[in-house]
Each structure stands twice: as C-alpha cells, then as structure tokens.
Amino acid sequence: MIELPLSTITLGTGFGLLLIGLWGMLVRKNIIRMVIGFSLIDTGIHMIMVSLGYIRGGTAPIIDAAVDRATALTAVVDPVPSALVLTAIVIGLGITAVMLAYAVQIHTHKKTLSIDDCTDSKW
C-alpha cells in the first residue's frame, strides 16, 4: 500500500468539498442552501490552497523559539499560500455576507427563496 502524502489527502478533501459545494449550488433550489454551497466551495478552495503550499514535514512559518532561523529554510511550510488563504477567507466571507443580504431582500420582495422563481429578467 502506497502511503498517501498528507497534502494529497487534504487536496483531495478540498476538491471533494468543492464538488459537494457545487452540487449544492446547482441542485438546491433554496437560495440559502445555495449560499451554503458556496461556502463549501470556498472552504474547499482554501484547503486546496493550503495543500498546494505544503512542504513535506514543514511546520508553521513562525521563526521564534520553536524554529530557529538557521533551520527555518527546511522546517517551515511556504508562508505565501497561508497568507493568500487568509485573504481569500475574508473575501469569501464578504461575498457570503452580501449573498445573504441579497437573499433577505429577495425574500422581502418576492416572498420566496426558491431560485426557480427568480427569473424576472429572461431575454
């Protein structure tokens, strides 16, 4: 049995989450559920991002007592994806918030949350 690298597992999980999220977005009619689907996609992406930055056997890129500067080059994971994920999370949060706000307004105006009813403009 081949041992799967750690990051491959998280990568796979991330992809899985992404697909599940997409399924939710594409199949669920309720807008709130679609937003949840989006959150799942987001989370999946974040996992993928972190996985792509993983260095075999690396630890958090904080050079303090635990990791001294001399060995840091071989001991830490890539800090860039972590930084990017941080940004991506916030952005995802922002979008989710706006989506929810839209959901609220749509419900106020149309008294429904079904995406199938949101076809006011068509062609």
């Binding site: 977005m25 594409l26 792509l52 706006v98 839209y102 006011d120 062609w123």
Partner: protein, 1045 residues
C-alpha cells in the same frame, strides 16, 4: 508635492482613503462629503489622463513597487501606455457616470465610496502585475458592483444581482484555483515572473491550471451562452450602474485577459472561437430584442468579445503594433458610446424600443442618439471605424479571411438592431417624457465630444491628412451650429461652401475622377439649388447635405482605399440620415442602411484582401493584385452593385428613392447613384482586365447588369407611384452601365461613362419634374393626376425631353448611349445579353409612356383646375438640364470625345471619330447629322399641317369633348385610363416580377430572427442554470483544448 500628487499609486490610495472617510464625513457635513467625492473622482480622471499625455510624449512606463521591496517578493504595478489608456478611459467614464448618477448618489456617502472604489478596483485590475492581486481587485470590483446594483431595489434588479453574484463568484473561484495552481507550478505570483517560468506550466497540472485561469477571466467577459446573468444585470440595473458594468468592469476583465495571454498560449485558438461565437451570437440574439437596455447588453457583450477577439487574433499574428489603434479605438468607442447610450436611455426613462417614437421632435436628443449609435456601429469619424478598418486589414493580411467575414457579418447584424432603434426614434409619435435635465445630458454630450476627438486622433495616428479627410464631418458639424437660420439662407450657404469646394477640387482632378467630379459635384450643386424651392424648416438637412456633397470630393480625391472607404461611409451615413428626413421614410430607411452597410463591408473585405496581397492600401496598387484579383474584384463589385441597386439586392431602392424628400430623391438617384458607378469603374479599371477569374466575374457582371436593366424596367411599368416608377427606372438604367462596364473594352467604357452622364441629366430632370408635380398635386399616385399639361407646360416639356432622352430614341442623347452600349456588347460577342438589352430598352417605353400619360395627358381632375406650374426654383434647374441635354444631342462629340480620351488611357481606343461621325468595329453613327436630318424631316409635316390648318377650321375643345360612344363622360376619374395601366402585361409577364427578392430577404431576416430565438433559448432566467452553464463552460474549455493526458 507635485510629484507626490502625480504618483500613479494615488489612484488606489486616494480612492481608498477618501472611500473610507466618506461615511464619516457624511455624518458631519453631507456637502463636504459630496465635494470631496467630486474632487476625488475628478482627480482620478485627470491623473491617468496626464500620465497618458506624459507617456505618449515619451515618458518611460512606470513600474510601481510596494512595500519598499522589489518584485517578485512584493506586489508591483505597472503604468505603461496601455494601462494608462485603459485607466484613463475607465476613470473618465466613471467621472461622467458619477456626474450622470448625481441624483442617485446624492446623500448616500456609502454609495459614493462604493462607486469610487469600484473604479479604483478596475484601475487595480488594469495596473497590477501580480496574479493574486489581480484576483483581489476582481473581487473588489465585483463586490462594489453587487453593492451598487442594490441602489435600485426591485425584484428584477435583486434577482439579477443575485444571479450576477453566483456567476462572478464561481468565476473568481475558478480563477483563484487557477492562480494557485500556477503558483504551485511556477513558484511565483508575479505575472512577469510566470512568463519566465512558463516552461513549468505544462503537463496535466499545467493544462488544468491554464484552463481554470482562462475560464475565470473569460466568464468575466460573459461568453455566449454562459452570459445570461450579465444580460439580466444590464437590463435591470440602474442605467448608470449598468453603464459602469458594461464599460468599466468589462474593461478590467479585458485587460486581465490581455495580461494573462502570454501564460495561456495553448488556449488562444479556443479563445478566438469563444470570442467569435459570442460576438456573432450576441448580435444575432440582439435582433430579437425590443428592450433598449437589454439590447445595449447584447451590444456590450458583442463589443467586448470583439475586443477580445481582436486582441487574441492580433497576438496570434504577432501584430502587437496594431493593437493601440485596434484595441484602443474599439475600446474607446465602446466605452463612450455604450456608456452614453445607457445614460441616455436612463435619462429619457424609455426602455421599450417602441417607446422611442417621436424623439425626432427633440433634435438635440435625436442627434445625440444618432451620433452614439453611429459610433457604436463603427461609422466614421468615430474611433471604432478606424479600429475596424485596421483590424480587417491586419486580419486579411494574416490570412484570417473567415474571421474577417465573421466580424463583418456580426457588425452588420449589430447595425441592424441599433439602427432599428434609431428608426423608431425617427418615426412620428408622442413625446412621452419631459426632456431630461441638462445635468444628466451634459455627460452624454461630453461622451459624444470625446468620441469625436478620439476619432480625430485615431485618424491622425493613421497618418492621414485628418482635417481634410474628415472635412465632411466637420463641415456638417459647423453647419449644424447655424441650424437656427431660416432654410433658404442655409441652402445658399451650403451652395456657397460646396461651390467653393468644387472650384478648388474639380480642376485638380483628372481623367475619370475629373469626369465624375463634374458629375457628382456639379450634379450635386444643381440638385441642391433645386432644393431651394422648399422654404419649410428642415432641421439638419443642409448640414447633412453639405456633408454628403463634400464626401463626394473625398471619394474622388482618395488615393488610398482607406480614404475611399472613409468617404464612402460618410456618404452612407449622411445619405441615410437625409433619407430619414422623408416624412414616411421610416419603414424604408433601415433597409437602405443595412444594404449600404453590407455594401460597405463587402468593400472593406475586398480592400482587405487586396491589402493582404500587396501590403499597400494605395488605390493605385489595387491593379497589382494578381492571385486574388477575381476575389477582390468580386467583393468590390458586389459592394458597389449593392449600392447601385443591382437585381437581387435592389430591395432597398424603390422605398428609399420614393420616400426621400422629393429634392433629395433627385440627388439620390441622379447623383449619389453615380458614386456607386464610380466605384464600379474604379474596380473594373484596376482589376477587370486581369484575365482568368476576372473574366468570369466580368461575364457574370454583364448578366447582372442586363438582368437588372430588364427587371428594373419591368418592375417600373407596374408602379402606380410616380417616384417608385422613377426609382425602378434608375435601377434599370444603372444596369446598362454595369453591362457596358463589364465588356472591358474601350467602347464599352465610353458607353458606361456616356450612360452615366446621361442618366444624371435625364433622371435628375425627371425627379425634379416629379418634385414639382408632387409639390403641386400633393400626391404620388399617378392615376390621381392627369391632364396636367395644361397647368404645368414647362414641367411637361422637361419630362418630354427627359423621356425621349431616356428611351434612347434618336435624335436626343439617349440614343448615343444605346448605340455605344449595343455596339460594345455585340463587339464583345455577348449576343444573348444584347438581345436582353433590346428587350429591356423596349420595355422602358412602357413606363415612360405611362408616366407622361397618366400625369400630364388624359383627363384632368376637377380639383386640379387651378394648379400652377412648379416654382421657378425648380423650373430653372430643369430648364438647365433640358438645355444641356439638347446641347449634347446636337453635338454628342462634346461628351463622347472627352470620355473616349479618358478611357483611351486605360485601354486601346476602339471607338474612332471622324469629325462628328463615330465608328465602332461594327457600325457608325453621326449624331450631328442625325439631329439635323430629324429636325428637317420634322419640319415637313409640321409645315404641311400648318398650311392645312388654314383651310380647316380647328376648334380648340376641352377635355370632355371626346367621342364617348355617343355618351358623355361623367367624371374625369372614371374617364382617365391610368390605374393598372398595363394589366394585360401583368397577365402576360407578371409572373416575372413577383417580389421574389423581397421574399428572399424577408426570409433572411426572418431566418436571422428565428436564429436569434433559437440561440437565446439558453437564457432561462434561472441563476442555477446559468451556474451550470459556467461549469460546463469550464470543463468544455478544458476538454476542448487538451483534456486529460
């Protein structure tokens, strides 16, 4: 300090700082926040403009690094020429947009800061050189848009907004994933760094990475069919916001695409297909659209995909040097025109196209609409024109003929729906809304001015003598400014301008252009002078007329195909607009424009092919085309024939000629039609004698010409409408010229030139007579006239001379044309065609007699008892034409000799002159002798009758003193044999003139519309379905280009 203010980073810093502060300041002082907002947005617009200026004048491109650390370790931005241009454009649009949005933003600091940040986000998208940073800016732009969409809160906007969020967030998700894979593969996020490491992006991961990256950006560009969400937003968002989305956000996405192009080399072909499909599909679907905003949406998507298409194709061809003009031109065009139109539709609060009826009551608004639409359709002098020209030339040179075809077809379709809208605005109707506030209009006006300036600049950049080639446009604009004057002084001013122009231009022209210079400008002046009989208000008429006449000069003086095409398009535009002034012209103007544009595009394609072979746009070099001669000739001829109204593409002609203003009809038929003949001459002279394929083309041309002549005449005889009859007659006459040209012999070309001059004379005369009749009678239906000879003897005389000249009966000029043409055809050995020519000229008698009989002879209606002859202003030009016809009848050599000399410079002379005797290879004709003999012969019976009358009491009687089978006639209406004059001919040959061509083109129109219906079936309106399309788009892109290894 100044330096600090000029820092390009300020575009981001200032917008953000102010954006953050605005909500706070709003709490204490709304006025202050408003002022600050205004200041900032102006600053945002001015700064990139300054940079653009500096960069154009040679400043180095700015590499901006952040955090005091060099890239690739930190994020860097770039402000080169292209970035500065795009940023300047977008910020200018947002400045004008903010101005326009004034009311919506007032008192809403939050909205103002979002608006500021939106344009900042686009700036960032354009400037950043870091892929992840690009993602951030995409998101900033997206969320800012989400926020702004909510400014108008109704169900449609909200649901559209939600769909938009779903789509864009999915797109950015894929983009982000692509970015991360790129990082994984190349180890950097810096775009320049990635380009160096591009070799790493390969294998299965590379393929996925590229496809995700491409998909992310492409979906932002709203590719068909995964773009329903974008359209919904265009339709339902507040117009100001929709304009920003259409213009700003798309610009950012486009630039993002531009930046990543080097990273995704394998996807370029796929991108071309995507952009091409979207361009074509959007325009086809647009045909079905009857709501302005969604219409603009389709147009936006089409324009942006055209930009993308151009960008990718030029990249593929490695013609980046052409990008500034092509991309810059198209972009500016789209930016200002589209934004302007969105604003206009918002300012007028009219959405359904039908509601735009009656806009012509407000000339300013109409002018704005017209100019913006013209810009969008790529008409000169707007930048889109130059860009399209350059694009077509480059693509043709690169051998991408099918893409040229696609672009031209798409552009034509776009013009169709855009000008259908304009047509509605020109139609009579009620003015629904009050005129919008000046504050809302000013930005739109500024957009128009910007477009004009940009067009001028673009022309400059092509190295043209800009002022001179754009003179028609400027003269038109100048005359618009004095539109307040009474009509006749304006007409005199036009006459003076054009006369001076002709005085300067015509003597310089030589040979063929000289001949046509005389015809076009001389004829134009005469028709303009005849137009002075009208004293009613004619808004813009003389401005457009000046433009038209001056573009004749441009056409004649053109040394390059560009100048020729430019002048040609000016002709198209001005004549279209002049045609629109006809009272009931609205239903026919669109057909006129479509066919004119189609003709222009055929020319463009032809010039492109020629350029591809000779690498030169000089008209003289057309003759150097060898391999593609037949194709170029075919395209050019098709173009000119369309404009000339050849059989099959004549369907626009009768309506246009009939419904135009009466004096303008004369101009159209007699003068403007000669421009097409001039074009035919040009193309045939350059390319018609190359042998091989050209011979086939010329042979076909002869048939086209004579079939046109025959069917033109045949259709004319069944018309009840005076001007329609003249229109069909013109069509038929042009057919003879075409056939004569096709012979490719000296004799034939002399014949064509002779026919052209003659047609100008007698058709101008006929239309002027018709104008006089219509003015007096107030009718165009001939059977409602009759017996007018007693009221309008001079007009009758004019028509008599004209129809004798037209019919080709000796001794008047017409026979010369027939003689030359038939000789040429026989010499060429085209016997069947000759037979057809005989038939056609015989059929012409029918309508000629019908015309003169039903109008002037027969029974006069009681209500016409007191009619007077046409006003002197109309009669004098008529008499002048009569005089010229008679003079040329007496001395045909005055006309034939110069033409023969001109043609002899192109071909060996086969028409020999011995004094007044002309000899062809087959026959001879002595015009001078003929008219003398005829004159003498005429005197014999005349004298005889006069003598006999002395012994015979001749009683002058009145119209009812006729033998009426021993009864008395009851009313002139029932006694005048006029309606359905040739009913027996209809029974015999009517089956030939069933409106097949009309049916065919209607079928094409219907087919395009049903294509539109078929193509828009994807737009279900359901956000989820749209999400599915996006997903499918991503996987399709991936599997289409590479797929799994």
């Amino acid at each position: 300090m100044v330096e600090a203010l000029g820092n390009p980073l300020n575009l981001i810093i200032v917008a953000l700082g102010v954006g953050f502060l605005l909500p706070l300041i709003e709490r204490s002082s709304p006025a202050l926040s408003r002022g600050l907002f205004n200041l900032t947005i102006i600053y945002q617009a001015v700064l990139p403009l300054l940079w653009l200026l500096w960069l154009v004048n040679g400043a180095a491109a700015q590499q901006i690094q952040t955090a005091g650390i060099a890239p690739p370790f930190s994020i860097n931005l770039r402000l080169g020429l292209e970035e500065a241009f795009f940023v300047a454009g977008v910020n200018l649009a947002s400045l004008l947009g903010a101005w326009y949005l004034g009311g919506l933003l007032r008192g809403r600091a939050a909205a103002m800061s979002v608006f500021l940040i939106l344009s900042m986000g686009v700036d960032g998208m354009i400037m950043t050189r870091d892929l992840f940073n690009l993602f951030i800016f995409i998101e900033i732009t997206a969320i800012a848009t989400y926020g702004l969409l909510s400014l108008e809160r109704n169900a449609a906007t909200l649901t559209a907004g939600f769909k938009y969020i779903i789509a864009t967030s999915l797109a950015s998700t894929f983009f982000l994933l692509g970015v991360m894979l790129f990082y994984y593969l190349t180890g950097t996020l810096n775009i320049d760094g990635m380009r160096e490491q591009i070799a790493q992006v390969q294998g299965p991961l590379g393929m996925v990475a590229m496809s995700l990256l491409v998909a992310g950006v492409v979906i932002e560009l709203k590719p068909y069919p995964a773009n329903g969400w974008g359209l919904d937003v265009y339709e339902s968002a507040p117009t100001g916001i929709a304009a920003m989305v259409s213009v700003g956000v798309s610009a950012g996405a486009l630039f993002a695409l531009y930046k990543i192009l080097p990273l995704i080399e394998p996807f370029l072909p796929a991108l071309v297909v995507v952009a091409g499909t979207t361009f074509l599909a959007s325009n086809i679907i647009g045909l079905k659209q009857n709501k302005v905003r969604r219409l603009l949406g389709y147009s936006s998507i089409a324009q942006v995909s055209l930009l993308a298409l151009a960008m990718v194709l030029l990249t593929q061809l490695h013609r980046e040097d052409a990008m500034p003009l092509v991309i810059g031109g198209l972009f500016l065009n789209h930016l200002l025109a589209k934004a302007g139109l969105f604003w206009l539709s918002g300012a007028l609060q009219r959405n359904a196209v039908e509601d735009w009826r009656g806009l012509r009551a407000n000339p300013l608004l109409l002018a704005i609409l017209g100019l913006l639409l013209a810009a969008l359709a790529g008409l000169p002098p707007f930048p889109g024109f130059w860009a399209k020209w350059e694009l077509v030339m480059q693509l043709s040179a690169g051998g991408m003929v099918s893409w040229v075809a696609l672009i031209l077809v798409g552009s034509l379709l776009e013009a169709v729906y855009l000008f259908r809208w304009f047509g509605r605005a020109m139609s009579p109707g009620v003015q629904l809304t009050p005129a919008p506030a000046v504050a809302q209009l000013l930005p739109i006006v500024l957009a128009v001015l910007g477009l004009l300036a940009a067009g001028h600049y673009a022309a400059d950049s092509l190295g043209l003598d800009t002022l001179w080639v754009l003179l028609p446009a400027y003269a038109g604009i100048a005359l618009v400014s004095i539109d307040g004057l009474p009509t006749r002084p304006k007409g005199l001013i036009t006459l003076a301008i054009v006369a001076y122009y002709a005085y300067r231009v015509v003597p310089v022209l030589e040979g063929l252009t000289g001949l046509f210079g005389l015809m076009l400008l001389g004829g134009g002046l005469l028709m303009t002078a005849a137009g002075l009989y009208r004293g009613d208000t004619r808004r813009g008429y003389y401005a457009l007329l000046t433009m038209l006449l001056l573009s004749f000069g441009g056409l004649l003086q053109a040394d390059t195909s560009l100048e020729f095409f430019l002048a040609w398009e000016f002709l198209t535009v001005s004549s279209y607009l002049l045609l629109c002034m006809g009272r009931d012209a609205a239903p026919y103007t669109l057909a006129y424009l479509i066919f004119s544009l189609a003709a222009a595009f055929l020319l463009l394609a032809g010039f492109g092919l020629a350029y591809a072979e000779t690498q030169s746009i000089a008209l003289a070099d057309l003759a150097n085309v060898k391999d593609g001669a037949a194709a170029v000739l075919g395209l050019l001829l098709l173009g000119f024939l369309t404009k000339a109204g050849a059989l099959g593409v004549h369907v626009w002609l009768p309506g246009a000629y009939a419904e135009a203003d009466d004096d303008f009809s004369a101009m159209l038929a007699a003068v403007l039609g000669k421009a097409a003949v001039f074009g035919l001459f040009l193309s045939v002279i350059s390319l018609g004698l190359k042998g091989g394929g050209s011979d086939v083309v010329m042979y076909l041309l002869s048939w086209i010409g004579l079939l046109t002549a025959f069917f033109g005449a045949l259709m004319a005889i069944f018309q009840e409408d005076l001007k329609k009859m003249l229109a069909y007659s013109s069509m038929g006459q042009v057919g003879y010229m075409v056939a004569a040209l096709a012979t490719g012999s000296h004799l034939g070309w002399v014949a064509a030139g002779y026919l052209a001059v003659n047609h100008l004379l007698f058709k101008g005369l006929l239309f002027l007579v018709a104008a006089g009749i219509i003015l007096r009678v107030g009718q165009r239906e001939m059977y409602k006239m009759g017996g007018l000879i007693h009221n309008m003897p001079v007009s009758f005389f004019g028509m008599l001379i004209a129809i004798i000249a037209l019919s080709g009966v000796p001794p008047l000029t017409g026979f010369g044309g027939k003689w030359l043409m038939l000789n040429a055809l026989l010499e060429k050995g085209w016997y069947w065609q000759t037979g057809l020519a005989f038939f056609a000229s015989a059929v012409a008698f029918l309508y000629l007699f019908r015309m003169i009989h039903t109008v002037f002879l027969g029974q006069r209606k009681r209500i016409h008892k007191d009619l007077r002859d046409a006003p002197l202003a109309l009669l004098i030009p008529q008499l002048l034409l009569v005089f010229v016809i008679l003079a040329l009848s007496v001395q045909p050599n005055w006309l034939v000799n110069p033409i023969a000399a001109i043609m002899a410079s192109h071909l060996p002379q086969t028409l020999v002159m011995h004094g007044s005797l002309m000899q062809s290879g087959l026959g001879y004709w002595d015009g001078f002798l003929v008219i003398n003999v005829v004159g003498a012969v005429f005197m014999v019976p005349l004298l005889m009758l006069l003598v006999l009358s002395r012994f015979m009491r001749v009683q002058r009687v009145k119209q009812f003193n006729i033998v009426f089978a021993a009864e008395r006639p009851e009313s002139p209406e029932t006694t005048h044999y006029a309606y359905d004059f040739y009913s027996f001919y209809d029974r015999a040959l009517g089956f030939l003139v069933l409106p097949r061509a009309t049916a065919f083109w209607n079928g094409v129109a219907e087919w395009s519309h049903s294509m539109g219906t078929g193509l828009r079936i994807f737009y279900t309106g359901n956000g989820q379905t749209y999400a599915l399309y996006i997903l499918l788009y991503v996987v399709t892109l991936y599997f289409a280009v590479g797929g799994p290894s």
